[in-house]
């Protein structure tokens, strides 16, 4: 039945299964002819990734745990070194300040740089994933178009004759 006739019929007797098939066909047609718009793929992917990232109960509970149980979880960037042991204590402070603190600081900076690099890597990996999905959508649409064009060009196969 033609679309116009279906639409007319549904005005008195709507059939949800048929309407959903009609809607799916509209989406498929758009994907086939106009190619699913890149922004639509990106939106779909973006929404999907956001949902995946939002659905992280283990991370959520860990964060909740830290926030609920530790009052001093925030970073303290400046070391406050002091002593109550008089002259000997001052020697320990000097050792901590001059000998232990510099290499520790160097290690922290290294970790920070590596964390930043990891972040960049993650971002690039996500972009690659996104580009792959977009490119896959394009290729699928192109293959579908070529197959359709091929089917329209090639003549119908000859009927098989029954054997003797």
């Amino acid at each position: 039945m033609k679309d116009a006739a279906l639409l007319e019929q549904w005005k008195t007797a709507p059939r949800v299964d048929d309407i959903m098939r009609y809607i799916q066909k509209r989406i498929d047609d758009r994907r086939r002819t106009g190619i699913l718009y890149d922004d639509e793929i990106r939106t779909e992917l973006g929404i999907w990734l956001t949902e995946v990232l939002a659905d992280r109960p283990a991370y959520d509970s860990t964060l909740q745990h830290y926030m609920d149980t530790l009052g001093d979880w925030r970073l303290q960037l400046h070391p406050h070194l002091g002593t109550h042991r008089g002259r000997i204590g001052r020697i320990f402070v000097w050792i901590k300040h001059r000998l232990i603190y510099p290499p520790l600081r160097w290690i922290v900076e290294q970790v920070e740089v590596n964390a930043w690099r990891q972040d960049r890597l993650n971002l690039n990996l996500m972009r690659i994933l996104e580009e792959t999905v977009v490119e896959n959508g394009r290729l699928k649409a192109r293959v579908a178009r070529l197959e359709q064009a091929e089917a329209e060009r090639s003549p119908a196969p000859p009927e098989e004759k029954p054997g003797p």
Partner: protein, 392 residues
């Protein structure tokens, strides 16, 4: 007959789905039988904070017996035990029972009362399998128990302790065929005698949608969401979809939200939040809308979808929820979406074809009237009690 209802919260001001379902059925059953509700003092569904005094009171002609809560819900412990039970394979049945206890509301006095007084009741209806009163209460009186599981397709229903639990009551009442199918699968196909009751909708008289629209300055056509505005109800996804849909400017439509807010609402000119509405206002909001949207992926029965159909309004629901999809297909009262493309196309279709949209609303209303009425619903409950529970 003397019938008890066991439910985790009970009050006229509580609008949660299973609580509302229980209250309305208890009130209607009171016209046929002696009804008593056994519940807790909790008012808040997250922390189980006390809000009502313990003891006996009467609400709309129904005797309500409240029991004190032993402890508020410890959210950190609840998250930890949830992570253990839902994501760790090595957990035990005791861990799962601890999950039910942590889920609460923990009321050992209520369970003890059921144990001591079960002989006084002909039947006890236990609402919502996942909460402490129904889980531990039913195990004390399985021979008198009719379970109303209100089960949804989420992680909790698949905990191993519930496979046996669903076999224990004398009978079970389901809200939809999808819920019956789900619980049957969890219970490995062994279910007690059961029936599907759904729900009957009462539309308030003398609605004035024009006055409602004027009061809330709703000048544009709107898509309506009514319910708790919560991530668990799929509202975050709805916001993302709608904002992106609006960016395309295919149709001139607002998204109007009504209900308790448990999630930040986007600051967007086309998204309007009305706050909490009274029952009458809710129906006026439905009457004034173009259609109603329900994005929740987990529903055992969406009463507000039935209310939309009672008002002759078409719906657009989350197709990932088997119950909502099944209801839409059975009633022909609305469309469903599984992703952003289907959301856009479905909404476009509804707005471009107002006659079909109205026909879907009429179809939903007809299906509701044919299948759900109070007489039919109460007859089903009486029938199941008569078939399953032996009386002296």
């Amino acid at each position: 007959m003397k019938i008890a209802f066991v439910i985790h919260r009970y009050a006229e001001s509580i609008v949660g789905g299973s609580e509302f379902h229980c209250r309305r059925i208890a009130e209607e059953m009171a016209s046929r039988h002696e009804v008593e509700v056994l519940t807790t003092t909790a008012v808040d569904y997250v922390t189980w904070k006390d809000g009502f005094p313990a003891g006996v009171e009467t609400i709309n002609g129904v005797k309500v017996r409240r029991f004190r809560i032993k402890a508020k819900r410890n959210l950190v412990h609840f998250k930890e035990i949830s992570d253990l039970c839902f994501y760790e394979k090595g957990h035990t049945a005791d861990d799962e029972r601890e999950w039910v206890r942590a889920n609460g509301p923990e009321t050992p006095d209520l369970v003890q009362y059921i144990k001591d007084h079960k002989a006084e009741y002909d039947a006890i209806l236990f609402y919502s399998f996942r909460y402490y009163p129904s889980y531990f209460g039913l195990l004390e009186a399985p021979e008198k128990a009719i379970l109303v599981p209100t089960a949804e397709e989420d992680a909790a229903v698949h905990l191993s302790i519930f496979a046996d639990y669903f076999n224990r009551p004398a009978g079970a009442l389901f809200l939809t065929p999808e819920e019956q199918d789900l619980v049957g699968r969890v219970a490995h196909g062994v279910l007690p005698p059961s029936d599907i009751i759904g729900f009957a909708v009462d539309v308030p008289p003398a609605l004035d949608a024009a006055a409602f629209r004027a009061k809330h300055r709703l000048t544009n056509p709107y898509l309506l969401y009514v319910g708790r505005i919560d991530r668990n109800k799929g509202c975050d996804g709805l916001f993302r979809y709608f904002v992106e849909y609006d960016r395309r400017k295919t149709h001139d439509i607002d998204l109007v939200l009504a209900g308790t807010k448990a999630l930040d609402i986007p600051n967007h000119t086309r998204v309007k939040y009305l706050g909490f509405l009274t029952d009458k206002e809710k129906f006026e909001a439905l009457e004034g809308s173009q259609l109603m949207v329900m994005p929740s992926p987990y529903e055992s029965l969406s009463i507000v979808v039935l209310e939309a159909w009672a008002m002759g309004k078409a719906t657009l629901v989350n197709g990932l929820c088997k119950v909502l999809r099944g209801q839409s297909r059975r009633s022909n009262g609305g469309l469903f979406f599984n992703n952003f493309s289907e959301f856009c196309e479905g909404l476009d279709f509804m707005l471009e074809n107002p006659e079909i949209r109205e026909a879907m609303g009429r179809s939903g209303k007809q299906w509701l009237n044919e299948n759900f009425s109070w007489t039919r619903l109460l007859d089903k409950i009486d029938g199941l009690i008569g078939r399953t529970i032996k009386r002296p």
